[in-house]
C-alpha cells in the first residue's frame, strides 16, 4: 500500500486535484444558492449571520489544498509528469550558455567589456588622486603618472576594433557559427527523436532523493539536450577568446619593466615603516589593474555584436522549439522553473521549499510505518507503535531508590567463599531500581508517543501540584503572600530562556524536558486555580458557612467546583504552551520526539519531513484543544450561566 502510493503519487494527486476542483465548484454553487437565492433574516452586524456556512468551509479548505497543490507544482506534476524533465533539458541549455550570456547585453544589460572599462577607469582615477598625498617623491610621482596613462592607453587599444588580432576575429566568427548551429539544431524539430531505454528506466520525478530525472525522456527534451551539448562546446570556445592586440604588446612589456623597477625601489630604499607600507600597497593596486587589462578580456563593443545577435537568434529558436510548453510552464510551474547545477536538476521557487501534498503524505506514511527494518520510522524509532515493556521499569521510575537505604540493616556483603546472599534490603533496592522481573505489559513507544508522554507527565504533575497550591493561594493570606514571589519571579521568564539551563542540568534525557514543561504547566495551573478560587462569590461562601459546611468541605464542595472553569481553561492553555515549548526543547536536545525529527530534517534540508513534522504537531495540538473544548463543555455546562 505504502509502496503503491509512493510509486503512483502522480495518479493520486491527479485524482485528488480533480475531486478538489469538483468539491470547490459544488460548495461554491451551494453557497451561492443559499446566500443569494434565499432571503435572510439577519441584518448586517448580527452575530447570527456568521452561524452555519459549512459550504464556505469546504470552499476554503479546498482552495487551501489547491493553492498548496499549485505552488508546490503538484498540479503540474500530476498532469504533466514529464514536464520537469523537459524543463531540466532547457535548464541544461541555459547553464551551458550562461558564461556567454553573462558577457553580453542580451543576458546582463551591459557588455562585460563596458563594465570592465568603467571599473578600471574609476579605479585609475581614484589612484591618480591618491598620488598627490602619497609617499612618493616629485620625480617618482611624474613617473607614476606616466605609468597610469600607459595603463589607460591599454584600454584605448583594446577598445578599438582596428587593433583586434586576426586570430581573435576568426574565433569570434567561429563562435557565431557554432551558436547558429545550436539554433539550427533547436529548429530542426523533434521528428525521429526517441528516448533511450536507460533514460526511460530512470526513477519518476520526485520519487527518489534525486528530484528530477536528468536524462531526456521526451523528443522535446532530447532536442534541448542535444542543443545543450552543442552549446557547451560553443561556451568552451568562448572561454578561449582573448583580445591580445598586437599594438598593446610593446606597452605591456614597458609597463611590466616599469612596475618591476618600482617594486625594486621599494625593496632597496630606506623608508620608515608607514611610508614603506604605503608605497608597497600603491604599487600593488596599480599592478592589479594592469594585470586585469593584460588578461585580454576587454573587447571593442561592435566586435561582439555578432555574438550578441547570434544569442538573440538562439533565444528566438529556443522559444520556437519550446512552443506551447513555455505557456504550460508559466501557468503551472510558478517560480523561476528548474535550475541545473553540476550533476542534478532541482525545482526552484516555491516548489523548492513547499513539498507536494502527495509527497508529504508519502513521507508521512513512510514515517508512520512501524516496521523499522523495512525503512519505516526515523532513526530506528517508529513514529507511534507499541512494545512489551517490563513492569519493573515503571516501578523503578516511580519508586525512589532511597527507600531501600532507609530500611534497617546493611546491604549484603560477599562471603569468604565469594558467594553473595541477598537480604530483604537488597531485594527492596532491586525493586526500587527496577532490576526485578515483574512481568511485561504492552506499552506505547515511538517519537510521537515520547513527545505526548512528556507533555502528559508534565501536565499531570503541574495539575496535581499546581491546582491545590493555587486554590490555597486563592483563599489564604499566608499561601498567597508566601508563594507569590516564587511564582512571579520564574513565570515571566519565557520557557525557552529556561531551556538551556535546565537541559544542561538534566542532560538530554526525558527528565529535563519534563521538568521544563512542568515549570510551564505549574505556573499556569497555579495562576488559573488561584484566579478561580479567589473569584468565588462571597455570597456562595457565606451561604455554605450558614449551611454548616466546614472549611475543608467548603474548599472541596464550593471553591474547587467554582474554580473548575478557570482550571480547565488553564489546562487548555497549559497544554498548548507545553506543546510549543516541548518542540523547542526537543530541537535543543533530544534523541527522540517530533521536534527531534524536525531538527534533523532541518540539517539535511529535508523539506518534506520538516513539513510532515509541522503538520503532525499542528494536528496533534488541534486534537488536544478540541478534546479540551469538549471536556470543558461536558464538565462545566454552567459556565457563563451562573
Amino acid at each position: 500500500m505504502v509502496d503503491w502510493f509512493s510509486d503512483n503519487r502522480g495518479l493520486v494527486a491527479a485524482l485528488m486535484i480533480f475531486s478538489l476542483v469538483v468539491l470547490f465548484m459544488w460548495a461554491l454553487f451551494v453557497g451561492w444558492r443559499d446566500t443569494v437565492l434565499t432571503s435572510k433574516n439577519q441584518v448586517f452586524g448580527d452575530p447570527q449571520r456568521t452561524s452555519g456556512g459549512w459550504y464556505w468551509t469546504i470552499c476554503g479548505a479546498s482552495t487551501l489544498m489547491l493553492v498548496w497543490f499549485y505552488f508546490s507544482w503538484g498540479i503540474g506534476r500530476a498532469y504533466m509528469p514529464s514536464a520537469a524533465n523537459d524543463m531540466c533539458q532547457v535548464a541544461k541549455l541555459d547553464e551551458a550558455l550562461s558564461p556567454i550570456k553573462a558577457a553580453l547585453p542580451g543576458g546582463a544589460r551591459y557588455y562585460k567589456s563596458t563594465l570592465l572599462v568603467a571599473r578600471n577607469t574609476a579605479q585609475l582615477n581614484s589612484i591618480q588622486k591618491e598620488l598627490l598625498s602619497s609617499a612618493f617623491s616629485q620625480a617618482e610621482q611624474k613617473l607614476l603618472n606616466e605609468l597610469i596613462e600607459k595603463i589607460r592607453s591599454l584600454m584605448v587599444i583594446s577598445s578599438n576594433p582596428k587593433n583586434l588580432s586576426v586570430e581573435t576575429i576568426e574565433k569570434i566568427d567561429k563562435l557565431v557559427l557554432k551558436l547558429d548551429a545550436v539554433s539550427a539544431e533547436l529548429l530542426s524539430g523533434t521528428q525521429g527523436l526517441t528516448p533511450t531505454a536507460i533514460a526511460l528506466a530512470q526513477p519518476k520525478w520526485g520519487t527518489t532523493h534525486v528530484e528530477i530525472p536528468i536524462a531526456p525522456i521526451t523528443p522535446l527534451g532530447i532536442l534541448f539536450d542535444k542543443g545543450s551539448v552543442l552549446a557547451s562546446k560553443a561556451a568552451s570556445l568562448f572561454q578561449t577568446i582573448k583580445n591580445h592586440a598586437p599594438a598593446s604588446k610593446v606597452v605591456i612589456e614597458e609597463l611590466k619593466s616599469d612596475i618591476t623597477v618600482l617594486k625594486n625601489a621599494n625593496e632597496i630604499g630606506e623608508f620608515n615603516g608607514g611610508i614603506k607600507a604605503q608605497r608597497v600597497a600603491y604599487v600593488k593596486s596599480l599592478e592589479r589593474i594592469f594585470r586585469r587589462l593584460d588578461d585580454g578580456t576587454i573587447f571593442p563593443a561592435n566586435s561582439l555584436e555578432g555574438i550578441n545577435a547570434a544569442i538573440a537568434r538562439l533565444d528566438g529558436a529556443r522559444e520556437i522549439a519550446q512552443g506551447n510548453f513555455q505557456l504550460m510552464q508559466a501557468l503551472f510551474f510558478p517560480g523561476p522553473g528548474v535550475v541545473k547545477s553540476r550533476t542534478q536538476c532541482s525545482e526552484q521557487g516555491s516548489a523548492r521549499w513547499l513539498p507536494k501534498p502527495t509527497d508529504v503524505i508519502a513521507t508521512f506514511l513512510k514515517l508512520a510505518n512501524p516496521d523499522i527494518n523495512s525503512g519505516g520510522g526515523y532513526k530506528g524509532v517508529p513514529l507511534l507503535w507499541w512494545e512489551w515493556k517490563p513492569i519493573a521499569g515503571f516501578v523503578g521510575f516511580f519508586v525512589p531508590n532511597w527507600i531501600a537505604d532507609f530500611w534497617p540493616g546493611d546491604y549484603a556483603r560477599h562471603r569468604v567463599d565469594g558467594s553473595i546472599e541477598l537480604n530483604l534490603k537488597d531485594k527492596i533496592l532491586q525493586f526500587a531500581t527496577g532490576k526485578i522481573h515483574l512481568g511485561s505489559v504492552p506499552a506505547l513507544h515511538g517519537h510521537l508517543w515520547d513527545s505526548v508522554f512528556r507533555v502528559l507527565v508534565a501536565m499531570i504533575l503541574g495539575v496535581v501540584l499546581g491546582v491545590p497550591l493555587g486554590l490555597f493561594m486563592g483563599v489564604s493570606r499566608f499561601f498567597k503572600s508566601f508563594f507569590d514571589p516564587l511564582i512571579e519571579i520564574y513565570r515571566p521568564v519565557p520557557p525557552l530562556a529556561w531551556a538551556p539551563l535546565i537541559l544542561t542540568i538534566f542532560g538530554i534525557t526525558d527528565d529535563g524536558k519534563v521538568f521544563l514543561l512542568f515549570m510551564v504547566a505549574f505556573a499556569i495551573m497555579v495562576i488559573s486555580a488561584r484566579t478561580g478560587a479567589s473569584g468565588t462569590q462571597l455570597s456562595k461562601i457565606r451561604a455554605s458557612h450558614s449551611l454548616g459546611a466546614s472549611d475543608r468541605q467548603i474548599m472541596w464542595n464550593v471553591i474547587f467546583p467554582n474554580a473548575l472553569p478557570e482550571i480547565l481553561t488553564g489546562i487548555r492553555i497549559a497544554i498548548g504552551v507545553c506543546w510549543g515549548t516541548l518542540v523547542a526543547a526537543e530541537i535543543l536536545a533530544g534523541t527522540t520526539g517530533v521536534g527531534f525529527i524536525e531538527n534533523i530534517a532541518r540539517t539535511v534540508s529535508d523539506y518534506e519531513l520538516i513539513w510532515v513534522t509541522i503538520l503532525i504537531m499542528g494536528i496533534l495540538g488541534l486534537l488536544f484543544d478540541v478534546f479540551m473544548r469538549l471536556l470543558i463543555k461536558r464538565t462545566i455546562p454552567w459556565r457563563g450561566q451562573g
Binding site: S539, S544, S546, L547, W638
Partner: protein, 265 residues
C-alpha cells in the same frame, strides 16, 4: 426560648487607606421573639445588611453583642439560615443537590435526606425539578431553591437579605405569598431586609425603619398586614387605606433621610 437579642450592637468601619471612620451601626437594641417576622427598611447605606451579617456571624460587632437563645453569636451557624439576593446557588449542582447541601455536609442518612428534599421541593413548588441543573432555572425558581436549601436545615432564624430584589413584579408577589405561607406553617423567626416599602409593609409583622449615619433604628411599626396576607390577596391589602397611609408616611421619612444625606454629601 430561642429569642434573637441584640444589645448595644455597634459597628464602625475604618477605611484602611484614609483612616476615615464610618459608624455603620450604633447601639442597636431589639429582641425578636420566636416566630416573629421582622422586616427592616431604610435608605441605602443605613446598615441593614451590616446588621444582618452580624446576626449571621459573618461580621463581628465593634461593641455590644447579639445572641440567639442566650448563646452569643460569634460565627456562622446552621441555626441561622441565610437567603441572599441572587440566590447564591451552587450552579454546578442540581436542584436537589443544592437543597440537600447542608444535610450532606452534616453527613445525614441518605434516605432521610431524600425524603426531606422531596418534602421541601414540594412545599416551595418545585416538585419534579430535583434533577434540573440550577443554571437552567428562572430567577424566581432559583429563589425557591434557596429557600428550600435554607429551610431543609431547620434553622431557628431565617435571615433574608433582599431575596426578592432581583425578581419581576409578578414573581415577586408570588414569592411574597410563599414566604408568608412558609412563615405561618413553619413558625420560624424571620428577619427580612428589603428596600421596597410595600414589601416591608406586606411581610412585616414588625417593621424597623433605619436611618443612616450612624445606622440606627429610627422607628418601629407593629403591622397587621402579614397576618391578613395569609388569608387575603396581597393586591387587596395594597389598596387598604391604612396600608397606603403608612406607606406614604414611611416613604416621606426615607425621602427626608435621603435628602439629608445628599445635602450633606
Amino acid at each position: 426560648m430561642t429569642d434573637l437579642v441584640c444589645e448595644d450592637l455597634s459597628m464602625t468601619f475604618v477605611n484602611p487607606s484614609t483612616g476615615f471612620e464610618v459608624e455603620a451601626l450604633k447601639d442597636i437594641n431589639f429582641t425578636l421573639k420566636k416566630g416573629e417576622l421582622l422586616t427592616v427598611l431604610g435608605p441605602s447605606g443605613c446598615g441593614k445588611t451590616t446588621l444582618l451579617n452580624m446576626i449571621a456571624g459573618f461580621l463581628r460587632p465593634t461593641s455590644g453583642k447579639a445572641s440567639l437563645g442566650g448563646r452569643m453569636i460569634d460565627a456562622p451557624g446552621v441555626e441561622r439560615g441565610m437567603v441572599f439576593q441572587q440566590g447564591a446557588l451552587f450552579e454546578w449542582l442540581t436542584v436537589s443537590k443544592n437543597v440537600d447541601f447542608g444535610l450532606r455536609m452534616k453527613k445525614a442518612d441518605p434516605e432521610k435526606i431524600k425524603k426531606l428534599v422531596e418534602k421541601w421541593l414540594d412545599i416551595v413548588g418545585l416538585q419534579g425539578f430535583g434533577d434540573t441543573p440550577t443554571y437552567q432555572l428562572s430567577g424566581g425558581m432559583q429563589q425557591r431553591v434557596a429557600l428550600a436549601r435554607c429551610l431543609v436545615n431547620d434553622p431557628s432564624v431565617i435571615l433574608m437579605d433582599e431575596p426578592l430584589g432581583a425578581l419581576d413584579a409578578l414573581t415577586r408577589e408570588k414569592m411574597q405569598s410563599l414566604i408568608l405561607t412558609l412563615w405561618k406553617e413553619t413558625g420560624k423567626t424571620i428577619l427580612f431586609i428589603t428596600h421596597s416599602v410595600e414589601e416591608a409593609l406586606l411581610l412585616g409583622e414588625r417593621l424597623f425603619v433605619m436611618a443612616p449615619r450612624p445606622g440606627r433604628i429610627y422607628k418601629e411599626y407593629h403591622l397587621p398586614f402579614a397576618e391578613r396576607g395569609l388569608s387575603e390577596s396581597l393586591r387587596d391589602i395594597k389598596q387598604d387605606v391604612v396600608f397606603t397611609e403608612v406607606r406614604e408616611e414611611i416613604l416621606t421619612m426615607i425621602w427626608d433621610m435621603e435628602e439629608e444625606i445628599m445635602g450633606r454629601g
